[in-house]
Symmetry: D3
Subunit: 319 residues, 6 copies
């Protein structure tokens, strides 16, 4: 059983525990001698390690292997680093102590994917507008499998297992309230907009089933999820027989949800539901990033500068 | 009784009705002849009018008088304009037909001021943090009289009777939900921030008891309501014995709520509650401006360009 | 026969000639008297006129009527204006002198539409890549009718009859050369990009058969011709069986041809052919606007400030 | 006695001399062996050094210790570095050679603090406006102790012992002249503005008595010295019984002295004295940074890029 | 003798006095009747006037004529305007009352040109660097005649008779002080930079001997006074045998004195003397514009928005 | 004979071949031991190498030496690096195997300098305008020697032997076509503009005869090639007796060819020929940079981020 997590490591600790290999290679040191350079991780973070003499079996290790290590925590350039004495692959088949709960090794949204999916599907099923209801239900069903693990970003906010579902769910929760406060809003349009706005991230980002992104797809790089989303919406609207107005309004909501041209939206929101969609989106992203920053900041202290928050350093109150 | 409102006027209508004088002066025409130039209004908007021969009694009319007019609606430079044949002051004392409901003449928030005030006070009374509760209750009590009619702006969003209360109330409604969704938030801080953030608009803007602003105060122009709000918070925190941390965090929330330096916040929000405050504020302002724009836009059409919405033209769906 | 054109009018001229009504309405003067306010035009420009006493027949005039006027050229606010004494509709059926060549009244590209169309189709037919050839030929055929008259803009560059064809043709001429100079370019991609890049302006702009735009379509306002063009390309590529790479590259060329996010391209060009497409486009637009400006600028003088050229005043050499 | 200063070190020098420890730690090399990593400094600058075998006494060294070293100057990544053979703490109590003049080790303004303070107090005492005179005298007296050593910045311009006094004094010298040239200026307002504008840097920056800043205070980070200065001015004005106009004008001068919103001033200067204050401030900062840059630039050469001067490289003439 | 000045006119005054014709034309009113449209001015400002029946002699009036008028001050669009009853040219030859002091009619720097010139020449003659002394003396002598009346701008700051001399003189006064405060500065370079920096405004702007600019020269529009100044400096340096370093440093000072690329300086200042030159320049321009604004602002009030001051409204204290 | 080029090196290759020394120094390793740090290059690129034990003869090697090495290709920080076992200077005098073709070692334009020069001179000789013809011929003759090898930049586009000629030639090729398409252009002006626009790069950049820049000249840093080019044009125009208009138009073309103030042009193009010049320039620069990027990018992959292309990653199609 895993006992110690990356976020709890401190300088000079001597550790014997299991981690996942995030990246690994044999490098040549400044004196010409080879050494093993490996990044290890678990659900709480990542740490780099070095092993100064490379054994034959070390060459066989690869990304996503679960390994057991004996190491000391050192510090290099004010970052913690592992000086690894031994490393070996876990063999759960033959060694009961090596049987691991895989969830310990993967950063994941704090709620169960199927529950979040259920919440979102419930919202979809209760939309009053029949077109939008059919649209959302279909899209959720068609993409069910990938939604179960897809992150909402390759890094930054919601880059985690089922991060996209988590992002949608919390936006829906706020969106429902906003429609109660601003009663002139078309509730169905707001909620369908939330469900559709980032759906093509599934095809913009390349990710595997543990929710880790490895980069962007070819179409993602040349067009981006916003324009891909407009095209997707267009073909669905044709298929489902939307009116022209409803089709174009949904496409516009997707197109404008980043708000500023320099963030990828060539049109700014031109009706209140599109405006609301943007603010639900940005608020959720900011809350996520701030929560993450504060998780690793001492009470009464400031976080490091956070790039996605315009390099702000976030304050964690003493309480 | 008033029958016809500004928003319902159409070209070529012949009208006999009551309006409030918003501004009035005798001007000299291009041929050197004097004429009466008057802006009339009611709770739905304003319209300019001309009277081509000026009578002796016309010179006695002044701002805020309720007047009865006989006029024809014409068009000049694609704007409606009244060609006034007769105008006289209403005399409710002597003429029962001239007795008016003053609410018809003043743009006002759609809810009753005392009810909104009650809602907000209720929130304040239920804050768990004793310091913040005492702060909010005191501030609401101290400014009770002015809150009953103060607008939240001299023009643009919430420039109407009790607009500031309406702005606070709707922000609180959303704020409560946001604290349920993002459970790490300090609810008291968010809600106290909402109550305090614009309170000094009462001293930044010069307004009269019908909620109409006539301009900015001297201190408003040289310092602005944000910095005035920080000073106000500072003296209240000293008086109420806040801890340094609580005092400075509240001041920071006021200081940062416009988010961008170019909009008046020299510091960006540095903790999640300050971040949320900004988004509650901007969302409410945008919803207000869009609602106003759509009130006078035909279904299936676009509004005029709206300066406070970056010159966007807002779309009103056909339904 | 029309003898005098708008661009040749000078102050104090007394004129008797034919013009097209561009807009017309009866307005009320500052003294309350009605007058006729009419904008007249021909292929060289437009001029405003006033008729101070309105006759019964004046009410029957409407946009696009050809009218004969008797008038004096005056100046108002440093702009020429017509003081119209008489105005009547042309009756070519009954009056031989009223038979006009409609080309005199409509601003048009300087080349014959069918010839320009032929040039472009020739380019399309000679593309070596079979997919791109079929694409371009099909698109040119499908949109043949509208291309014969569509402008390339609602105002600014190429806002004229067949302006879109003219824009495409001159870009192709330069594009062919650029591919000779930079031999690594994929010539078919560049030329197909030119043909496709603005094709959806036909659906973004509302224009009539004399090439005059009356505004933007609903989809044009909410999505814009760039995103519409990507969707159009997508459906054509599916229909014609393009490879994924070729489809996405063509979509990217359309998406990125305005280059800067603030001009509507969420992605900048990511390969040389897309880069070239942008420069062919902008160069042609700039040359058009400068030529237009210099047409009405005296040798040795500067034009007025031109909005589409960043408010520059363009110099016309003395020669 | 200290003989050699950091700015005079050259590659390959063998040195035996005294320096102050600026930071020190024991690190682990790439081969796993510990070494001593120490930054040494004196009034002319700082240099990093390494000692490859760590002795027991090395662990006892700490920041601000004066140490004697034997070392060779080497070069690493085009920066000078010390290869330290021996290092020991100075013991002035027992070793006469170890008695040092502490001024050699601390970067300081080029004038004596008490003399600069005297100059500024003299200006304050001669203000004609009684309110402003009492304000400035009180503020100078109340903050006398800290002014003797406080820097004007944590890094960049005037980050040195008594740098704040030096900044104020030179601004006052120029300010007096400017008031002679622009005779409409209110001289008292300009000079009081100079004295007050940065006073809260004393509480924004955390610094010790040798003028070295260790960072920003909590209030400094959340509010900044400008807003803190406005609050400070406000309470002083109340205490001293200023008129509303005088109070607000002084607060505005502090608020606007950074001029641009993005540099921390939510309001731009709104009267000439506030405008002048800004230019006195920026000129003094720029002159300071350029002088510093040229001190370490060869005649006929360019300095490195200087971040506070928009990355310019400053030229030092050959003379 | 002139008794009433433009800045003292108030609504409803009846006036009989002399003014200078700034522009004049016969226009056609909205009813088709001609009227005289004339702008009149004196050293304190300008005002527009209308004369509703045009006499034969009115056609003979032209720019710069001194005229005597009988008129009433009216208000149109919240601007004062003259309703002129009679207007005639002054005939000082035959009518002693018509003999005017021309200084009353021309906006001029507040000091005598020859005295300012003398001050500047004195500075030039006392430069220690022989090259710079010869340069400045020569340039002042060569341009003596035009300097006596040239404005420093076509509008905005120092657009007045001898405004360029006034600008140079006040910059020199401050410059001398700055060199005393920052003793590392090369005083000769700073002062010669002041004298040379705007000298080519004499050829960039077209102005007549009363200091009124009529526009920009051809070279002024295509190159601008900064680049023209660099060329001028270059030829003078060659003629006077400057070293390469001195020549290029002087050219750089001229080139960089507007500081920001968007204000015309392709290079930012790269040594302290060039930096100082910029701040002397901008400070003098700002002080001038603020003084002008406050001359026509009531104590306790704000000026109109001033374009050259980023649309700020400047406050005039109550005193 | 050289067999292996930098661009073809792969990890783990063992190589024995010739390279040019680009930079060389003896450094001290982290353990205090000296090693040889050398950058080697050829016409296809550069690579860093280390030699861990330094021999006596190694100290004699210097920049531009041709050396023969025995080495292994390793990887350090994801960059290839040579681990050099032996290195010696080539001695072509005594060793026939050491005779090298120098072209293998220098990055150069893909066409023969004299042929490009001939093309450009041909264009110059065929200009119809006698002044411009004499200008261009003279300038080409006067700078013939340097043009044969000068790069067009110190890094970025056309930083290679005869890069300036190559840049001019390709711009001329496109320029000729553009003048055929836009027939109102003054062809002589466009082509003379191309020839003159960057000519002063010869004096802005310090480069040696193999086309490698070592930095910028003093005048280059303080004025830049644009302003230097205007001065150069000015003196030539005086010498050749140009009309004022022609002189200033040519100077303006040089001045405005970077288009944006922030890229060094204080004036934007004010006539079509200047506008065209800019687009010919930028298109050629962009094509060059993209070609270079794609040379080292796999088909179907993206290049690294390229600074001169706004950090875009360029796509190389699969074909």
């Amino acid at each position: 059983m895993k006992e110690l997590f990356v976020k709890d490591l401190k300088k000079d600790m001597e550790i014997v525990d299991f981690f996942m290999v995030k990246s690994i290679s044999v490098k040549t040191g400044s004196t010409g001698k080879p050494y093993l350079d490996v990044t290890l991780g678990d659900m709480t973070g990542e740490i780099n390690g070095k092993k100064w003499d490379v054994g034959a079996s070390d060459h066989l290790l690869k990304e996503k292997d679960i390994v057991k290590i004996i190491a000391v925590v050192t510090e290099f350039n004010s970052q913690l680093q592992l000086k690894i004495q031994r490393i070996r692959k876990a063999v759960p088949e033959s060694n009961p102590d090596d049987v691991m709960d895989m969830k310990d090794f993967v950063k994941a949204a704090p709620e169960v994917p199927i529950a979040m999916y259920g919440y979102i599907m419930e919202v979809a099923l209760n939309l009053k507008d029949e077109d939008l209801r059919r649209l959302c239900v279909k899209v959720l069903e068609d993409n069910r499998e990938k939604l179960m693990y897809y992150p909402a970003a390759s890094k930054n906010h919601h880059a985690e297992l089922a991060g996209l579902l988590y992002h949608m769910k919390r936006m829906l929760m706020n969106g429902e309230r906003v429609c109660e406060v601003y009663t002139n809003l078309n509730r169905d349009l707001v909620l369908a907009g939330v469900i559709m706005h980032d759906m093509q991230k599934i095809f913009e980002i390349d990710a595997d089933t543990d929710g880790m992104a490895s980069g962007y797809s070819f179409e993602g790089q040349l067009l981006g999820h916003i324009v891909m989303g407009v095209k997707y919406m267009d073909s669905l609207a044709l298929e489902l027989g939307f009116s022209q107005e409803k089709r174009i309004m949904m496409e516009h909501m997707i197109l404008s949800h980043h708000y500023e041209p320099e963030y990828g939206s060539p049109k700014r929101p031109l009706f209140p539901e599109a405006e609301v969609l943007h603010y639900l989106d940005i608020l959720d992203a900011r809350m996520y990033d701030m929560e993450e920053a504060l998780k690793i900041t001492e009470p009464g202290g400031f976080s490091d500068r956070i790039w996605t928050l315009d390099n702000r350093r976030i304050y964690n109150p003493e309480k």
